[in-house]
Symmetry: C2
């Protein structure tokens, strides 16, 4: 499935978070679409946008949280592109079944977003307008992916973020353990070795072997459990 | 207290609702500020806007509901005008104590906005980003004023809307019965008679008298009740 990342950020070049995400992109099946760069005058090409949507199964809205919502150009995009007859209406939605994923960057810690916290409301609550949009367009709404205080992240946290972001782009962050293992194996087999030394390649091969061995061991345990129950 | 109505509507002239509201405005203490008319190119004069805010005690955001939120220019206004140091931050907010009122026009019935309803979420829920903004700016957030399906309203419903809207603009819709009576008396005494015939003026005077008599009667009843309790 192809992923369309609709990025809305008025000052993308100055955002460390967005640059990091851009550099983390998989090599294929992903379209990066930065609205402020494509439409500097704010006039949106509705036909082109609707064609883009039709060509992708997974739609990502990626933006920094300004005043508890997206920057204005993403809202302008919604109002212009999600027309009656295309996104909703008597004859159904042409977006039916597509996946909608929000990737939201915040400057304050995620724990501030809760009743009694500094921001009082949770992020899923504040994103209701997007959830309602997904429902209206008969799209499948995914759990938020929140990136908080990127600038304060350690190198290790950033590496974890990179992996999670790549999983988010393919909708694999919320799979079963088995699906996650398959994702890791795939990533390690195809992309992981491109720029690696011979030694590191060997390490990767060992890691894949270890993953497979663990999975076989788990399968055996499950099998034994099932037999005991019967 | 002066009221600033910040209207965001990309096609104001074609909206029956907005025209009706514009024609219902009180003669004084109200500033009508239509963002799309003032800033057709979308570039907002931050200093002018902040000065406007400082000169008014009650701020109204008035807009049609597009994709469960405001049109994009109001969001652009928030992002541009509510700067750190002015609206929030270490040195407090210059908007502290001001009232924030949302006047939202919808094309579908208000009852559709609830769990299990067509739109799944309530309007107060969908307006959380504005409520969170009010909290951050230390403003007092008022209950939503929703205008649903204006085009289907009867003449009588519109008259009721006119009265409620004028009460909303002065923050009097949510007062006690006594405060509401005082509001009616004031309106009838000052504004109501400007364009009336002599006969109608007499009617208005009788109405004011009746209101006062009713109030005296109610006060007497309350007094008797209190005595009986003692």
């Amino acid at each position: 499935m192809k992923t369309l990342i609709i990025v809305s950020h008025p000052e993308l070049m100055e955002s460390h978070t967005q640059r990091f995400l851009w550099e983390s992109l998989p090599e294929q099946d992903v379209t990066w679409h930065h609205l402020e760069a494509v439409y500097p005058d704010g006039v949106i090409d509705v036909t082109a946008e609707q064609r883009l949507l039709k060509g992708h199964g997974r739609i990502v809205f990626q933006f920094p949280l300004y005043w508890y919502s997206s920057p204005p150009l993403l809202k302008a995009w919604q109002d212009a592109v999600l027309t009656e007859g295309f996104a909703y209406g008597r004859f159904g939605s042409q977006l039916v079944g597509k996946e909608l994923q929000l990737v939201v960057a915040t400057g304050v810690p995620e724990k501030d977003y809760q009743a009694g916290g500094l921001e009082q409301f949770t992020l899923p609550e504040l994103m209701r307008p997007f959830q309602a949009t997904a429902i209206k367009c008969q799209m499948q709404y995914f759990p938020l992916f929140v990136i908080s205080q990127f600038d304060y992240m350690s190198e290790q946290e950033r590496r974890k973020l990179l992996i999670q972001y790549r999983q988010v782009l393919t909708g694999r962050l919320w799979g079963t353990l088995e699906e996650k293992e398959a994702w890791f194996e795939e990533e390690l087999t195809t992309l992981g070795k491109v720029h690696l030394s011979e030694d590191d390649c060997l390490q990767v091969d060992l890691l894949i072997q270890q993953l497979q061995t663990n999975r076989e061991h788990l399968n055996d345990l499950n099998w034994t459990l099932q037999e005991m129950r019967e």
